[in-house]
């Protein structure tokens, strides 16, 4: 079967609505409910966050959700357990996103195999650099048809963007600006020159823009320069109040894309 990420980008070229949430938050067992509600409300792609004790690339919102998830008892093992039947009901591509250490302790090969078994299409591990990936783990990912999604930033030199493009198979994650997650930016804060520069590079992979995308305005602006955009902290924040998952997810999705 063709990887669902590739299928998505082939069938939809614009306004791909991609959402991140932290597994185990707000409740330990929210994971599959959130996935179902997101799919129902129009999400094209979901990034399931593996919580980590020391999320150095994340701002306060995802720090809080990660800490709460760990307190709730979430672990990578349990997450795989929660997801084991997810493909019976969910069609859209699913990506696991987290820091390298929990994956390393699980075993990278075992992690990739488990992803294939369940039907996970990609992984984003921000602190697994390109060089380590290519040297040690590429084989495990490829054998299991798992895309390793790599990041680029406004500071990434052109030559390195080319290298990252060559090593990528699903899409390229464009970090919107030099920042951790959840900095709540306005459209004016984004470096359009960077978006345009990368757009003109004619990369072989499609791009999604993430970090600081928090509302309709920033989402649609980002979509002008890429195939779509990723919303993380703003969605996690929308889950914080206890108004019930169904309403929170539906209201949130409406506020961005409808």
């Amino acid at each position: 079967m063709k990887n669902r990420i590739n299928q998505l980008f082939e069938s939809k070229k614009k306004n791909i609505f991609s959402v991140y949430f932290t597994a185990g938050f707000p409740q330990l067992n929210s994971t599959t409910d959130i996935i179902h509600e997101l799919e129902k409300n129009g999400a094209d792609l979901i990034e399931i966050g593996i919580p980590f004790s020391d999320p150095t690339a994340d701002g306060p919102t995802i720090q809080r959700s990660s800490e709460a998830a760990l307190k709730n008892g979430m672990s990578l093992k349990l997450l795989f357990e929660q997801l084991k039947d997810i493909r019976k009901t969910v069609k859209i591509p699913l990506i696991l996103m987290g820091y390298f250490n929990p994956v390393m302790q699980f075993g990278v090969a075992a992690f990739c195999e488990k992803c294939r078994e369940i039907g996970i299409d990609g992984a984003i591990l921000p602190d697994l650099p390109l060089e380590e990936y290519e040297l040690h783990f590429k084989k495990d990912f490829e054998q299991n048809q798992l895309h390793n999604i790599l990041l680029i930033t406004p500071q990434t030199p052109e030559e390195r963007i080319r290298k990252i493009d060559a090593a990528s198979g699903g899409f390229i994650y464009m970090v919107s600006s030099a920042s951790t997650t959840g900095t709540g930016k306005k459209v004016e804060d984004f470096r359009q020159d960077y978006f345009e520069r990368v757009e003109q590079m004619n990369l072989k992979n499609p791009r999604l823009i993430g970090f600081g995308i928090s509302d309709r305005a920033t989402f649609s602006n980002a979509c002008k320069f890429a195939s779509g955009a990723i919303i993380g902290s703003a969605f996690v924040k929308a889950l914080e109040p206890d108004s019930g998952l169904k309403t929170s997810v539906a209201d949130f999705a409406k506020s961005i894309v409808l």
Partner: protein, 393 residues
């Protein structure tokens, strides 16, 4: 040299630069330029002048006669406590501030636990007129109030960190986040031989002045450059790296690092990473870490804020693994006793961190002719409250 970092930033299987892409530009620039800069005659000259006239080096190597008599051996103290600002930390911050200037950076950030590295960073920022922001766990801000005030008087902004356990690890997380958000004008002065390559090697080189001086001082005082053994406390491992550096290839010299056992390595309240840890990735380095089976970093504990860290520099993980250095652990109680012993035998009040190295003397078979060098990494001034509380003076 056999124990040098390789070109990819590894000591054996440990080290590397496990950085998110957001840090790539800065780390890559450092990696490409640090050796060329710190090996240049101009840099060397400036660095040596500041070490001599500002830090107050060379620090004395002092023969501790009464302590030697007590243990029936020969004990020398390398007096890093006599440096300006009271610890070895200034050797590194002086080096890094000069480097930051060569890189054209105008804003400095740092993490601190006990506040010694924070004070050392705020000090060199005042010296060079650079903006300084120090991240410090909210718990440590409370525990180390005098150092917080010192940093502020030196002109630094101290940012309390409320995430996690509110100690050194969390302060380091927050400093890294700051760097990610300020990639262009900012240099991050890491306070120990931890973090992504080239930090462990760079900080070890700046601290290596300790063992360089030791060699000539020992030659002068004992007739040989080579002691029987060198003991140093290990948090991240920078004072130990500096004290071991020029002896790494002299295999006849025994190297002993002493970690903080806290309430005991068999309890959960410990910071003895090498005794209880496993390889993992934290703060952009592959090294030994205190963690659970899910790969979550566990909270360390030590009476000394400077050793209260769940990791250790990759050089030490390697020296431990290949057996070149030996690592012991001392409990809070053993450490307090050792601190009191030094105070009353020699009239020197050591930092709680440094007292870990002293406490290890109890655990060794010492012969009368042995030459033991203790790296006395810092002064006890910052720990008076803890000492007074415990001893009830």
């Amino acid at each position: 040299m056999k124990y040098d970092v390789n070109e990819k930033g590894y000591y054996g299987e440990f080290g590397g630069a496990w950085i998110p892409e957001m840090m790539y530009a800065n780390i890559d620039e450092l990696r490409r330029r640090y050796l060329e800069i710190i090996e240049s005659p101009e840099f060397k000259n400036e660095f040596e002048q500041l070490l001599k006239n500002y830090v107050g080096r060379p620090s004395p190597l002092y023969f501790a006669g009464r302590l030697s008599e007590h243990y029936g051996t020969r004990i020398f103290l390398k007096r890093e406590d006599l440096n300006h600002t009271g610890s070895h930390k200034l050797n590194n911050t002086v080096g890094q501030i000069l480097l930051a200037q060569k890189l054209g950076k105008t804003r400095i950030i740092a993490e601190t636990g006990a506040g010694q590295h924070g004070v050392a960073t705020a000090t060199v920022c005042a010296l060079k007129g650079l903006k300084c922001v120090v991240y410090m766990g909210a718990l440590d801000v409370k525990r180390q109030a005098p150092n917080v005030k010192k940093m502020k008087m030196l002109g630094a902004e101290v940012v309390p960190v409320h995430s996690g356990n509110k100690t050194l690890k969390d302060a380091t997380n927050e400093a890294m986040r700051d760097w990610i958000n300020n990639p262009e004008d900012t240099h991050y002065i890491i306070g120990s031989v931890v973090g992504p390559h080239p930090y462990p090697d760079m900080v070890a080189r700046f601290q290596s002045v300790i063992s360089k001086e030791m060699k000539s001082q020992l030659l002068e005082q004992t007739g040989s450059e080579f002691p029987t053994r060198i003991l140093a406390c290990v948090g991240g491992g920078s004072n130990a790296a500096g004290a071991f550096y020029h002896y790494l290839d002299d295999e006849q010299v025994e190297l002993i690092g002493v970690e903080a056992a806290g309430k005991g390595v068999e309890t959960s309240e410990t910071a003895a990473t090498l005794q209880v840890g496993l390889p993992g990735v934290l703060h952009s380095s592959k090294t030994m870490l205190m963690q659970n089976s899910d790969g979550q970093i566990t909270e360390p504990y030590s009476i000394s804020a400077g050793l209260d860290y769940p990791g250790i520099g990759p050089l030490h993980s390697y020296l431990f693994k290949c057996g070149r250095a030996k690592y012991l652990a001392a409990t809070d109680e053993e450490v307090l006793k050792a601190a009191l012993l030094l105070t009353q035998k020699e009239g020197i009040i050591p930092a709680l961190e440094s007292a870990h190295a002293l406490a290890a003397l109890e655990k060794l078979k010492l012969k009368p002719d042995d030459v033991n060098v203790i790296n006395l990494s810092g002064s006890g001034n910052k720990d008076m409250e803890t000492y007074l509380d415990y001893f009830g003076y």
